[in-house]
């Protein structure tokens, strides 16, 4: 696995985070939530530190990270775009909206544009089904999005 060098003070912060949960293996998911909050994603190096601190194997940590869709081993773009693929959005045309984003950005789902500006992902139900289809970019929520709106939305960033 490729090494990502993280600064020494950040390593300490991560170790402190593990200590806050008493290095208790049962708290692994809480620790990973915290670590992803600190770094934005969970590259191999971070998983290795967490494994050592909590006295579990790296394979165990990796197994948990890859099991849950909320955890990511790849950095996200500056503006993460999520297309809601819940059933309500799907039947109101979310797939066409997704295709339009893919076409404009020229990336696949799960990828980031080469300039690091946008990343594209799908999520399952924001719960704003009255606004279907829904797209979120960062914290901002766009409702009743049609494929024609996509160009304009991207233009805002």
């Amino acid at each position: 696995m490729a090494k990502v060098k993280i600064p020494e003070n950040k390593v300490q912060e991560l170790k402190d985070l593990c200590a806050k949960f008493n290095n208790e293996p049962g708290e692994l998911i809480n620790v990973l939530h915290g670590a992803q909050g600190m770094f934005g994603y969970l590259p191999a190096e971070i998983q290795e530190i967490v494994a050592e601190e909590m006295n579990v194997s790296v394979a165990h940590v990796y197994g948990v990270v890859t099991f849950y869709s909320f955890f990511s081993m790849l950095p996200k773009g500056k503006h993460p775009i999520s297309i809601c693929m819940g059933t309500a959005c799907y039947v109101r045309g979310a797939e066409k909206v997704l295709d339009e984003f893919k076409r404009h950005l020229d990336v696949k789902v799960g990828e980031t544009t080469p300039d690091g500006k946008f990343s594209l992902s799908c999520l399952r139900c924001v719960g704003a089904c009255g606004l279907a289809p829904v797209v979120t970019i960062g914290e901002r929520v766009y409702g009743r999005v049609s494929p024609e709106d996509v160009k304009g939305i991207l233009g805002e960033y």
Binding site: T87, R103, C125, C129, A132
Partner: protein, 597 residues
């Protein structure tokens, strides 16, 4: 709430907040201050009103005027016109779609008429971030009475007598579950609230936690007393930031008031609640998987028995109930088991909350008595199909459920009737589909979900569902043959019989129910390479009818890949080798000249 003369309730649910309800509340407050009304009028951010289609929603109390589609710019008018001049702002009133008349009180709207709210009793009425408002509506008095006057056995009998069944989908009798956990001997036991609502298109648990978190905390404490547990754990999706925030506030307030913690109501009963976060795995809604996830492991299910009520979290007896089940508990104790039994059907008493969504006019969160028919839900409450299209199917039970057709519209909804007709209650997602939805694609959509969410532990689910998906993909691409239909059905039945947990066992339901109810659609795909609903892109071609085309050039301008050519005022032509079949041209054509073949 006595101090102020008027209250303005602003919906603070996730749906309305996504359309700027927070800015409305801020603007209202500013306008109130500017007009020196701050001692008379209070702005309250409530939980979900349910009528998401018309959001953001604002309600004026005490006169109950219900404003819809409010924008931040309307705030000033609401204060100047409604509050100061006493005139209703007509442009923001709900218009009855049939009579075209303004309806100002939600009581008279078809959307609310047939609803009975038990689990949602406080959503949209109280400020969920203020424990006093919950207490003012008899909050925590059920807990007080039980601790004062009843034994755990007597309390469990009330739950058993009420006939309440698990609202997470399984429909297991709640009282019985509590009794089994009480009878499991152990010094340490746990109460777990399952708030891992992973079913796409379902948002009832989130809305309850956002709108009335204390009802769940009170019920968990009651459950703790009944089964002999001092610790409650709420397992909630990390994707629900607002619900998490309000839960945390509620837990802190309950601790401050001595309603959680040591020696509650001076009755010597200790109980406290902690929050655990999910991390986006649908299978964690299954109770054994959920418990493993809380232990910091991969959320893989294990074989039952042992059931969690005997050996659950950290190997101790654990009672797992879903959010909506808990939300019913305080009301049952306040009003009695007999009252609850009178609502709903004999075998499924009470109400059920549904997240009504899809191609229906009134998308929203509704609560109806069990036994209400699908027709009443979709056409009376839901206001019928969007755009006057024809109803085709309704999907209940999410990825584990099935699609029901027009023939099922008069079916009274309860746990048993839905299973008998090939679907299931599930957690309460209800997605309405119209004539433009292809049922093979819908089945494929759900399989895509299951394949992604399968934990991979057992082969039938991990490999079988993938193969099912591939067969459906082949059919939607027009490459399927009749043998594929037999293969699809055989494989689906094998997965159903052999998968380890509820996720795998129910995953073929969307395929089987669509094959049973819409056989002609599957046959059209494999025999004629046609998609009757016109949704499968590989099977369709957009063509312009030269007789109807006026050469207005609108389609050519809207085409994102410049596949349309033609001179002004002359019939246009679509180059099918370039066309990406996005359908933008057909949507824009004013003359109906473009069709799918």
């Amino acid at each position: 709430m006595a101090k102020f003369k008027n209250h303005i309730l602003v919906c603070g649910g996730t749906g309305c907040r996504a359309s700027e309800s927070e800015a409305i509340a801020v603007n209202l407050k500013r306008s109130i201050d500017e007009n020196n009304l701050e001692n008379d009028v209070q702005v309250v951010r409530t939980g979900c009103f349910g009528f998401c289609e018309k959001g953001p929603v604002v309600k004026m109390v005490p006169d109950n005027t219900f404003y819809v589609h409010v924008t931040p710019d309307d705030a000033e008018d609401l204060v100047l016109e409604h509050l100061i001049k006493g005139r209703k702002v007509e442009r923001l009133l709900y218009v009855d779609p049939e009579t075209k008349e303004h309806v100002s009180d939600s009581k008279h709207m078809d959307f609310y008429k047939k609803q009975i709210r038990i689990a949602l009793r406080n959503c949209g009425f109280i400020n969920p971030e203020n424990i006093d408002e919950y207490i003012a509506r008899d909050g925590y008095s059920a807990l007080g009475t039980i601790l004062d006057e009843m034994t755990p056995e007597e309390s469990i009998k009330v739950v058993k007598d009420s006939g309440l069944r698990g609202r997470g989908g399984g429909g297991f009798p709640t009282g019985l579950k509590w009794e089994i956990t009480l009878q499991s001997e152990s010094e340490q036991k746990y109460v777990v609230c399952n708030a891992d609502e992973g079913d796409p298109g379902a948002f009832m648990d989130r809305s309850i936690l956002e709108g009335d978190p204390h009802s769940v905390l009170e019920a968990m404490a009651i459950c703790g007393y009944c089964i002999g547990a001092d610790t409650g754990l709420i397992y909630i999706r990390a994707e629900y930031p607002l619900a998490i925030k309000r839960l945390k506030i509620a837990i802190d307030q309950a601790r401050d008031y001595g309603l959680l913690g040591k020696d509650i109501f001076g009755a010597g009963f200790n109980f406290d609640v902690e929050i655990r976060y999910g991390a986006g795995a649908f299978v964690c809604g299954e109770e054994t998987a959920l418990i493993h996830s809380m232990e910091g492991l991969r959320g893989e299910p294990t074989v039952k028995p042992p059931f969690p009520s005997v050996s659950g979290y950290k190997g101790k007896p654990t009672n797992v109930n879903n959010v909506e089940t808990f939300a019913n508990i305080p009301a049952i104790f306040l009003k009695g088991a007999d009252w609850f039994r009178k609502i709903g059907t004999e075998k499924s008493p009470g109400t059920k909350v549904f997240a009504l969504a899809g191609k229906v006019n009134n998308v929203g969160l509704i609560e109806v008595p069990m036994g209400t028919t699908l027709r009443e839900v979709i056409f009376d409450i839901g206001g019928g199909i969007k755009g006057g299209k024809k109803f085709k199917a309704v999907q209940t039970g999410g990825p584990s459920g099935g699609c029901l057709t027009e023939n099922h519209l008069d079916l009274p909804i309860d746990y048993d009737s839905l299973i008998a007709s090939g679907s299931m209650m599930g957690s309460g997602g209800m997605i309405v589909m119209d004539e433009d939805d292809c049922m093979v694609s819908v089945a494929k959509f759900y399989l895509d979900f299951t394949v992604e969410e399968s934990c991979g532990k057992c082969t039938p689910c991990r490999v079988g569902n993938k193969r099912l998906y591939e067969l459906l993909e082949k059919i939607t691409l027009g490459k399927g043959d009749e043998g594929d239909l037999t293969r699809l059905r055989n494989l689906a039945n094998v997965i159903k019989d052999t998968a380890l947990c509820g996720l795998g066992q129910t995953s073929p339901n969307p395929v089987l129910s669509t094959m049973d109810n819409f056989p002609e659609e599957y046959e059209a795909h494999v025999k004629e390479s046609k998609c009757p609903a016109g949704q499968c892109r590989a099977l369709m071609q957009y063509v312009i009818n030269p007789k109807l085309c006026t050469g207005c050039t609108l389609c050519a301008r809207v085409c994102p890949v410049d596949a349309i050519s033609g001179d002004k005022k002359m019939p246009h032509f679509i180059d099918t080798s370039i066309c990406i079949k996005c359908g933008a041209c057909m949507d824009k054509c004013k003359f109906g000249a473009i069709s799918i073949q």
